[in-house]
Symmetry: C2
Subunit: 503 residues, 2 copies
């Protein structure tokens, strides 16, 4: 008896697997913490390894039929796991750094992805036809190009440190977000358009579509953020309840993502810019306790969602059903692996691959199975190898600006010529006082600095009086805490607001 | 185009309804805030009214076919919505008050529920047979008794204030938790046992089962809480990452709930005691920022989950498919309503009713439809009427102890004799300095006070050295925040820890 009978409608096995999954997540956190001293490891790698080990155990117990606990659906990924990760990314990013390098980021992100997509697709057509793997259509080759153009910023950022290397962090991170969005746009274009006859008209239509998507998604996200800021400022939410402030921030952010999905926009871009606007305005309008809560709660959601993805990928890597197809032609799939292993792929790649190659519920076509196993292996290999290498590499290469600029581009196909005009000397008048190598300042570019200057003027004159923001003191009669907000709010999100100095 | 195509596998309509639902949740929060000045309203009532209005709109748009956006499944309720509500309840409850009145709470909760169950079941058999409503079996009558024995603490507590009336709050609240657990135990017993021939052996078996459930569930919850406290204290989690501390607390609490479900225990009791133990030990072992985060994040989850439930019940109340069956015999269902309206029911009742009467996916039997519509109406009516009345009633009755003790029992059938021996004078040496009417102290009982005294000795001598707890200062070298923890941690969870006085 007991309340488990209420769950009788859902299967008993799903309760077992949920238990095991949550327990494994706990194990990942504890092990990740213990391995923190070991600078080469991180939670992503720990989760992958634990996932692999669990996969082996499940494989042995089930007698070789399956290696994973839950069936990975794109819905799970795109509705529950991705939004908190991307929102938190926008919420925690150092906005000054990010926007100052906005041009560089868009160049790396959008153009780099398009170039990468073209090269990967062409190479896939050439090599696959020569190796004679299954029967893939033109659409499939282009999908492969799109899948492997999505870089994984999540994993890279776990080894980078936002405080130690703020510029590198914001470049890699921003590039990752724009890159993800671009590759999703390309992927959808590949699925929807008839690409057997590409004319210039279609190409322009695609380009127009991309800009339309980019602009509307950004505006939607910014709009949702501004609305939340306005509501909280205008109605003095903190007067009655801290929880209400936090709840409305979470719900508005999620609403912006779901609205973007509803209107066929890029949910990733929307929720990312919603996060940026919320951290710039809304976060400053709420009570001090809400600030601490939102900052850490959003980071925690994101952290759990990431762990979940890596744990799953680790488990799914051993799915025999898929590998059995590969057995028939082992030589060719190894070749495919090595060729892709040079790129750093992640969770978005996985989701796109599952979407493209498991249309009829399960992977029955040998060609499709090879695609999925290859994707898994590339994600696995690149996460572990590059994850282990990145940290020492950053320490080795950071003082040298020339090597750094090569490091910044995680896209090997990005052309060097785009970087050169952005390497001019920028003024360092507004750089925040985070200690870092002076050579990094050389990367600041003058044009974006001017844009930033006018934005600040506009922000102070028009936006802040309406939407609040840094320095806004919510009116709460007789509350001593709120009087100290003015002092503690002098720095942005990265500031530790709970340390109010006495009054 | 855009990433919406990735959601193509899930239906377009479900994205629309999710959008609408999240938008309505936002509206509930904003309206609830605006109506805060109005002491008679609260968020539950707002959500119910908004749900009703939305139901009308959907009904008009859909041409009278349906009034709700999402299909309510017990899984949704018992896996996602209930755990955060109950965990937060345990986490935020004033432990001293709760355990001092533990006996009273168990008496009200367990015995009150059993008495209520017996009376409601017998009355249902008598009245229903006379009114000739559908063909219900004995099991159904007993299920009705169990369903309407589950009181809704969630709604009652929204109008009570933990700081203004701490004793009343903890009694009503604790009674609600024990009551929920008891009614779920009874409900499961009704569903599983062959109750056509009740012998004393079966009765004792049921009683034994109840105590077994109560004790094992409590131990599991306490064990999970202690494990989390031990891990965080022993491994100095806060040294590296605040998010990891919060993540492991969330995951361990959820794991305890899922484990209870797995082992057929009462998940509600487990996660409730896990919350209590976590707030007593774990919460004091984490960094200051994690404390603020967990306190408010858990409250926010709980808040959103509650709103979700009330919004849904409001919408579902207008489902024509169910009401059309009632039309055939309007007189009898009104009589049923009035008879039940004297009791205060809520979300748990709803979930149990759905579970019992929608076994074949949809409500096709007229008798079942009447049961569900009646349950909805009772929940609706009691939430709105009693929700509006409670706040003024408390203010009116509070200074008089005799009326108060009647107020405390939300169970009209609870016998008075149980209360009398607990009304003796207790020592007030350890009462915290919250201002309240002195007459309330009369309710403190001497025996529970003695137990509390020995528990404190045991806690200080054995538990705290191992599991941390109040006054535990995590070792973080060179962190000025952590040195102030000692000052700010002098009070329990209800203390506002972010207001550290200067150093």
């Amino acid at each position: 008896m007991g309340s488990s009978n209420i769950l009788a409608t859902s299967e008993y096995s799903s309760v077992v697997s949920m238990n095991l999954f949550v327990a494994l997540l706990c194990a990942c956190i504890v092990l990740g913490h213990l391995l923190e001293e070991n600078r080469w490891m991180n939670e992503s790698i720990t989760a992958l390894v634990i996932g692999l080990c669990t996969g082996v155990v499940i494989l042995l117990i089930s007698g070789g039929t399956s290696s994973h606990l839950l069936v990975f659906s794109e819905d799970l990924f795109f509705i529950y796991l991705l939004p908190p990760i991307i929102f938190n990314a926008g919420f925690q990013v150092k906005k000054k750094q990010f926007f100052r390098n906005f041009m560089t980021i868009v160049l790396f992100g959008a153009f780099g992805t398009i170039i990468s997509f073209t090269i990967v697709s062409f190479a896939a057509i050439k090599i696959f036809k020569r190796m004679d793997i299954g029967n893939l259509e033109l659409q499939d080759y282009l999908a492969i190009g799109a899948i492997f153009s999505a870089t994984d910023s999540v994993c890279t950022l776990q080894v980078l440190n936002q405080d130690q290397t703020p510029l590198l962090y914001s470049l890699v991170f921003g590039e990752g977000v724009v890159n993800d969005a671009t590759s999703i746009v390309i992927f959808n274009a590949v699925q929807n358009f008839d690409l057997s006859q590409i004319t210039t008209a279609v190409a322009f239509q695609l380009l127009g579509n991309f800009f339309y998507l980019f602009i509307t998604s950004t505006l939607l996200g910014a709009g949702a953020g501004l609305l939340s800021a306005y509501i909280i400022k205008k109605l003095y939410f903190g007067r009655h309840s801290t929880d209400r402030e936090v709840a409305i921030m979470i719900l508005m952010a999620y609403l912006s993502y779901m609205l973007a999905e509803l209107f066929s926009l890029s949910g990733i871009l929307t929720v990312f810019f919603c996060g940026i606007v919320m951290s710039h305005y809304t976060w400053h309008n709420v009570t001090e306790k809400s600030r601490v809560t939102t900052k850490h709660a959003f980071a925690t959601f994101s952290f759990i969602a990431e762990l979940f993805i890596f744990l799953y990928v680790g488990m799914d890597a051993l799915d025999l059903e898929k590998w059995s197809f590969v057995k028939d032609s082992p030589g060719t799939s190894v070749e495919v692996l090595i060729w892709w292993a040079g790129l750093m792929r992640g969770a978005v790649s996985m989701a796109l691959a599952y979407n493209q190659f498991t249309k009829e519920g399960h992977t029955t076509m040998p060609g499709n199975a090879i695609m999925i196993t290859s994707t898994i292996t590339v994600v696995l290999f690149s996460t572990m190898v590059f994850g282990l290498i990145t940290q020492p590499l950053v320490r080795l290469l950071l003082p040298m600006p020339k090597n750094l600029s090569r490091m910044i581009s995680s896209e090997p196909t990005s052309p060097k010529s785009f970087i050169v005009p952005l390497l001019g000397n920028g003024q360092d008048s507004e750089i925040d006082n985070v200690p870092r190598p002076s050579s990094l300042r050389m990367l600041l570019s003058t044009p974006t600095h001017t844009v930033h200057y006018y934005w600040r003027k506009f922000d102070n004159a028009f936006m802040r009086p309406v939407f609040g923001g840094r320095g806004f003191v919510p009116f709460i009669p007789g509350s001593p805490t709120e009087q100290s907000v003015h002092q503690s709010a002098h720095h942005l999100v990265d500031e530790e607001t709970s340390q109010t100095t006495g009054h």
